[in-house]
């Protein structure tokens, strides 16, 4: 089968390793340029279906700020970002909130939870 190489930049950490993945059709057969296991796994995944942590905000009432920062607890497929944002936009929470608190159980069918990424007091 024809081999094809993909150049990637790892997004796991700010080091930004430049990784080369050799693809045989839909399958990654060789990965070079990574400097940790996370990087290798990232490259394997990235060449098939890019996954990202989603960070955004939801509306919050009775707090000092008007929005609460939230993030997906794990990576979700990059391509679902629009649907995920539509779901998130409908959410309003009430203060107080603690960091790590589950804001939504299943983010647009991915099975990944949306959690608060800071605590916010009630005023």
């Amino acid at each position: 089968m024809k081999k094809e190489t993909k150049q990637l930049i790892c997004v796991n950490c700010p080091k930004g390793c430049r990784i080369t993945v050799t693809m045989e059709g839909e399958k990654a057969v060789e990965v070079t340029g990574y400097s940790c296991e996370n990087g290798k796994n990232y490259a394997m995944q990235e060449s098939v279906c890019p996954m990202r942590i989603l960070t955004t905000t939801v509306k919050i009432t009775q707090s000092t700020l008007r929005v609460l920062p939230v993030m997906s607890e794990k990576e979700i497929p990059l391509h679902v970002w629009k649907q995920a944002m539509e779901e998130v936009r409908k959410i309003t929470v009430q203060a107080p909130v603690s960091i790590g608190q589950v804001i939504k159980e299943d983010l647009c069918g991915t099975g990944v939870r949306l959690i608060a990424s800071r605590s916010m007091k009630k005023v």
Binding site: L8, I9, C10, V11, N12, G16, K59, L65, R118
Partner: protein, 418 residues
Amino acid sequence: MMKKYYDAVVIGAGCAGLAAAVALKKNGIEDVLLLEKDEETGGILNQCIHNGFGLSAFGEQMSGPAFAQRFYEQAVSQGVIFRTGVMVTKISPDKTIVCSSMQDGVVTLQAGVIILAVGCYERNSGAIAIPGDRPAGVYTAGQAQKYLNMDGMMVGNRVFILGSGDIGLIMARRMRLEGAEVLGVAEVMPYSNGLPRNIQQCLIDYDIPLYLSHTVTGIHGKTRLTGIDLSQVDENRNPIPGATKRIECDTLLLSVGLIPENHLGDACGIPMDPAIHGPRVDESYMTEIPGIFACGNGLHVHDLADYAAHQGTMAGNGAAAYLKNGENLSHKISVVAGNQVGYVVPSYVHTENVMKTAELYFRVKQPMEHVEIVIRSGEKVIRRMKKDHVIPSEMEMVIIAGKMLEGLQDDLIVEVHA
């Protein structure tokens, strides 16, 4: 009520200031006061809701607010005294501090040591002098970030971004997620100024074009921005005649650099290093005024909050050593930016009684591959290391064992060779 005297006063409760206060307490310093002008601690991290924080400090993927919260909790458990809503208006070489707050009015304090952890500010539209009108819709990227991530307000619908600094890239993604059309990012240099991972996850992921060797040469609109002129530039960064196109947009975000905030330090007479726009410091992060220290983005602009916090810890350790042992009066040598190096922090190092390690932070002047970094004093090579690639947007840090500096006479030169 605040007391009249504190062993240590840290100004600024961003991650550098919080980490410095924690380090002071861990070193057994009794009274550590942390002053913050905002109503809550955390500084600019509170608006940086994206992840990628904490990997080097805690080995975790955290948001900015979560990262700040972790340091805050450490500071609370260490017994740091907090005062928020307090603006420091003046510091003096004798380490008196004048500050004002709603609660206490104008108060003068005396400190044993002062640590400046005052952060940085953004270069704004005035600083880059784009010709054209002055309509609404032109924001610095950080300002738009605060409106969106803390106040829940969108600043526009059709957005163009000038400057490929990390905040600009992160705001490109953030505005796109919230439903704006992001038309592109222009960078005057032939390479990006942001971290490579941010080019990937903020621009490429969302098909946002990056215009390298391009700048904004015109701003149009009477009351609200209606469009900008995007021009290609030559190698001297001058617009190429005829290579200009109009882009219709209602918002222009500027991500054109950060500058350490040094009004307090300047007014106090602390000598500054023009290459970093921050104070000249030694390896313990003490400025040239004994007992006044500086760290974080108020010293020089870091790529990562993790590094700014780490520097806060080091400055806290340095300040604690000063309180316990007094000033290190040993011979000092200058640290010099040599071949291909834009700047180095610290500005000088002591050659006796140096702490266990000294850190050298520097940036290269241009992207280079397969380089050798050499640190030498005269002909004596202190450290030599190889790197596959170096770029100006990625700060380099080299750690040197304190004992390597002992007895050195000649300037310490940091240089990079292809």
